[in-house]
């Protein structure tokens, strides 16, 4: 704004700068030098569309907060699972029905052991577990030293191998001995080379809590929420991309073609638009289950693409199919409207006159100029797809066990809602945050990218 004002001032005569008539000399009538000319011409630095949109988006505080929250959710769902020692499908039999941050009895024992010792060792990765060790060769790497040892007979009771600063090398302590208060720890023979086929024991130095608790079969709820959120996000993004590709192409073709083609194409859109989508989704979920499963079974061994799809499960793939069949119509209407305006522009006429094929006009001229609408509509499509997926999973039609999605987690929690309300709360809050942040980012993008709202 203020730059414009400056430009405007240039055209007004600045009376102070103009010398009085009697004070003028010959030098005042010499042509202006290059520098003088330069100082008179003040150009506004051109701001590209994206830079402008970026600036406006940055200025929108709500959308920026939503963006940061969304980035956090991305990290939570995509990086999170590799940071915690639990898996979405592993069932920890000793850790059923734990509340948030609650430790099972065994974990508490390990924690109390850890208080006095540097580390506890067990055969599995599960933190806080005490394992009974069968006969065989074992080795431990601790502080860059490898200790190998042999156990003759099965130690039927729970065995903890622990290491303290004072007792070096390592010591085997049976759980029974510990509980009896005996300190008859057996010293281990230590060598640096492990025997062939020896089992490596894992060190536990910290018992990772079940932050969200565990479910009725002992699965860590936070890990399941992370995977569930990931599934929801993947579904949302892929569905939005499907809508983007089909809708944009269809709309652009209809808009550019015009006439009878446009009329017929848009009547098809009208009809699809009024087909009750969720009913058809439900129907497709039922119908596609068997054929898709069969298709997966025959091709997943040979085709990598099919294998990826079959990992996602039948329910989710049929959501994609539904989006490809029904949900692109909104996008195609918007893009058609834009194209109808854009095709009147001179550059389209010019491209036409030069004999550019229609395909290329759509690709190079029409769609790039609709990019604002494309981005906004795609972004707002993601939360609606997430909603749909969670709705289906809640009804038991989306993802299949042991895979989790936020909707199926909520539905699982419903059975025990009176006793463990937090099991519903965590996935529900995550789902709400995801949808909310995406909605707000979409609103911010609309304000930033839509030139009609320019102030």
């Amino acid at each position: 704004m203020d730059i414009n004002k400056k430009n405007f001032n240039l055209f007004q005569l600045n009376t102070e700068l103009v010398p009085k008539l009697d004070e003028m000399s010959d030098s005042d009538f010499e042509p202006a030098s290059k520098d003088e000319k330069k100082s008179m011409v003040e150009m506004r630095r051109s701001v590209s569309y994206w830079a402008d949109a970026h600036r406006r988006f940055r200025a929108n505080k709500v959308s920026m907060v939503a963006l940061y929250v969304f980035i956090f959710m991305l990290l939570f769902t995509f990086v999170g699972p590799s940071l915690i020692p639990y898996n979405y499908s592993d069932q920890y039999r000793d850790e059923l029905k734990l509340g948030p941050f609650q430790y099972s009895e065994q974990e508490q024992r390990v924690r109390s052991l850890l208080k006095d010792n540097d580390a506890v060792y067990a055969t599995t990765l599960i933190p806080g577990s005490l394992t009974s060790i069968s006969a065989g060769d074992y080795y431990i790497t601790y502080k860059r030293v490898t200790y190998a040892f042999h156990i003759d007979s099965t130690l039927a009771d729970s065995v903890i191998i622990l290491n303290t600063a004072a007792q070096d090398p390592l010591t085997v302590v049976t759980d029974k001995a510990l509980k009896a208060g005996k300190s008859d720890a057996k010293a281990l023979a230590s060598t640096s080379a492990p025997a062939e086929g020896a089992v490596k024991l894992k060190a536990i130095t910290y018992v990772f809590p079940h932050v969200f608790g565990t479910d009725s079969v002992g699965r860590d709820l936070m890990a399941r929420c992370m995977y569930g959120g990931r599934v929801s996000l993947i579904v949302g993004i892929i569905a939005a991309l499907i809508v983007l590709i089909i809708g944009a192409t269809y709309g652009a073709v209809a808009g550019l073609a015009g006439g009878v083609t446009d009329f017929i194409m848009m009547r098809i859109v009208d009809i699809i638009y009024s087909v009750p989508d969720v009913l058809i989704v439900l129907l497709l979920q039922v119908i596609l289950k068997d054929p898709l499963q069969k298709w997966f079974d025959t091709f997943s061994s040979t085709n990598a693409f099919v294998r990826t799809l079959s990992d996602l499960g039948v329910g989710i793939v049929s959501i994609f199919i539904t989006f490809a069949l029904l949900y692109w119509v909104g996008m195609s209407r918007i893009i058609r409207g834009q194209v109808l305006q854009l095709k009147q522009q001179e550059y389209v006429t010019a491209a036409n006159a030069l004999g550019v094929p229609n395909r290329r006009i759509i690709k190079r001229h029409l769609l790039p100029n609709c990019v604002g609408q494309l981005v906004i509509t795609t972004c707002l499509q993601i939360p609606s797809a997430i909603f749909l997926e969670s709705f289906l999973s809640f009804l038991g039609l989306g993802v299949s066990a042991p895979m989790a999605s936020l909707g199926s987690l909520c539905s699982d929690a419903l059975d025990t809602i009176t006793i463990y309300p937090y099991r519903l709360l965590f996935p529900a809050v995550i789902l709400t945050i995801l949808v909310l942040s995406l909605n707000l980012i979409g609103d911010g993008l609309r304000d930033a990218l839509d030139p009609r709202l320019k102030k």
Partner: protein, 313 residues
């Protein structure tokens, strides 16, 4: 006007036919006969196919099926209630009325709550009421329906014990409260957002300024001048709202254990009782399509600007 209505009716009928044909072919695309199980012999399957007319060519089947629906014959249930007519299951056992009752109440609640809230926010623009309502409705449209239902269940059913947890057949009025609120929550937030936006649009129009200059009372300005014009987007939302209420009904009925059509539909999907799935889909689709048709025609009646714009094209 008449031309427009006719055009919309034709599109509605075409859509209905499309839905019927889609459902028919989807059902027929399922491999294997619906009568196939471990015990059945080929002879039994052939007999069953002949009994239900499944041995005829597909096109004849489609014809029979479409004519059947015209006459109100939707076939019989294969599993859930074996050999009971689907039309009787849907309409005759109180399921349909139960669902419709919950749906209509929540539609009314959504409109009755949403519009005043939107007006309130628009009228107090920039004040704390507006900010509060904006945050609330923004959250409201991001919370899935089943979460609202479950939260109501925890708070009022389990913790405070004010309302019955299992609504069952909705015998008492208090049993309606939670399902209706859960179903109306999202649409009332959405309607409030819509009303606020269009009210703000209307308030900035010249005719409102004129009304103000004339010295009209605020209440009169809002209700007589601003609201009437800003209700048009709300009317257009009523079509999708009906569809949303029907699908939301599936969730609410499942959550509260109401033996309505929605819950039955979901269990018939899980049990794969095809005639019931098909019949319910078509009945519900007809409901949505008719509602869309009504909304489109009403919209046209109440907003003369639209016909003007069309005439200019």
């Amino acid at each position: 006007m008449l031309g427009y209505t006719l055009k919309r009716v034709v599109i509605a009928i075409l859509t209905m036919l499309l839905v019927a044909v889609i459902t028919f072919f989807l059902m027929n695309a399922v491999p294997g006969s619906p009568f196939l199980n471990e015990k059945s012999t080929p002879q039994q399957i052939a007999n069953a196919n002949a009994k239900y007319g499944l041995d005829k060519p597909k096109i004849v089947q489609l014809k029979n099926y479409l004519f059947g629906y015209f006459k109100g014959d939707m076939g019989v249930s294969l599993k859930m209630q074996k050999d009971t007519a689907v039309s009787k299951i849907i309409f005759g056992q109180g399921k349909f009325t139960l669902s419709i009752r919950v749906g209509v109440w929540s539609l009314i609640l959504a409109v009755v709550v949403g519009i005043p809230l939107g007006c309130l926010a628009a009228y107090n623009r920039g004040k704390w009421v507006d900010s509060f309502l904006r945050v609330f409705t923004t959250f409201g449209v991001a919370v899935p329906g089943f979460v609202v239902a479950a939260l109501l269940l925890i708070i009022f059913g389990v913790q405070l014990k004010w309302l019955p947890v299992l609504s069952q057949s909705l015998s008492t009025p208090s049993a309606y409260v939670m399902p209706v609120i859960a179903l109306a929550f999202y649409p009332s937030c959405y309607i409030a957002k819509l009303t606020r936006a269009s009210m703000l649009d209307a308030i900035n129009q010249d005719y409102i300024r004129t009304a103000r200059e004339k010295g009209l009372k605020t209440g009169k300005i809002i209700f007589k001048h601003a609201l009437r014009n800003s209700l048009i987007p709300v009317v257009t939302y009523l079509g999708p709202l009906t569809a949303g209420t029907i699908t939301g009904g599936f969730v609410v009925e499942t959550t509260f254990g109401i033996p309505g059509l929605g819950k039955y539909f979901i269990s018939s999907i899980l049990a794969r009782d095809y005639p019931i799935i098909m019949g319910t889909t078509i009945v519900l689709a007809a409901l949505i399509i008719i509602m869309n048709l009504v909304v489109d025609v009403v919209y046209k009646v109440i907003d003369p600007r639209i016909s003007l714009m069309k005439a200019e094209d």
